[in-house]
Amino acid sequence: MARVVVDVMPKPEILDPQGQAVAGALPRLGFDGVAEVRQGKHFELEVDDSVDDDTLAKIAEGFLANPVIEDWTIRRVDQ
């Protein structure tokens, strides 16, 4: 078994109103100096050794992310 992390982020050109709302709240909470916040999704998958990188890319590209509006990255992490 391996742990795979897939991070999905809105594309830079896509407006991220949730991230903007978080960024807007920080100064009100007394935290200054944060110029920008982008909000995305983080998936942790437990996969067996038969799942290769191509399959993981298909999972990310075809389901976990919508490539019209989101970018994705995959990384295998040591357990």
């Binding site: 407006l15 109103p17 949730q18 919508n66 019209v68």
Partner: protein
Amino acid sequence: MTARIGVITFPGTLDDGDAARAVRHSGAEAVSLWHADADLHGVDAVVVPGGFSYGDYLRCGAIARFAPAMTSVIDAAGKGMPVLGICNGFQILCEAGLLPGALVRNDKLHFVCRDQWLRVENTTTSWSTRYDSGAEVLIPLKSGEGGYMADKPTLDRLEGDGRVVFRYVGENPNGSRGDIAGIASESGRIVGLMPHPEHAIDALTGPSDDGLGMFYSALDALGAVAA
């Protein structure tokens, strides 16, 4: 022969009842379709109604697009069957690749629920022939993720080919690119929009009966005689 128009119900669908009522109001037979059933029961057209299929988990429409009924709809749409996606149904059609682009969170983050004026800009699709070009219609809009997004080449192509069917009039409610409320496929047989025509079919229950034109248009497209 009475046209038979299917209405799909997914777990979390809300507006299948009103969609079926609108179909009946237009003079067609409404056929309930279940998401887990790949059999479309010989319907002539399909409405993918609004709601929160699968709780909007992952992304709106992302899970519903893989339902057996949707696989059959994608297949039938490829052969020319008219399909209308309303609100969550529009999101599902985009996720399924039947329509380009995607719907994202409203730019001001608020869920918008109001009667919305739209301008009809394409009166040649299977779902819009009953409108006059440039007509302004009043249709309820109720969505939190209704901002239409696509890359610039896609937007340019939609605009250039006249595939923007409905456009918001007045203040943009959700940050949609180009004030786009609804678009059509290249063939004009598939249309998706965020506002809810099925909630505007009579003065008793809606702000207008402007939504009925979409259902009458489909009957015309199917060659059936509308009421």
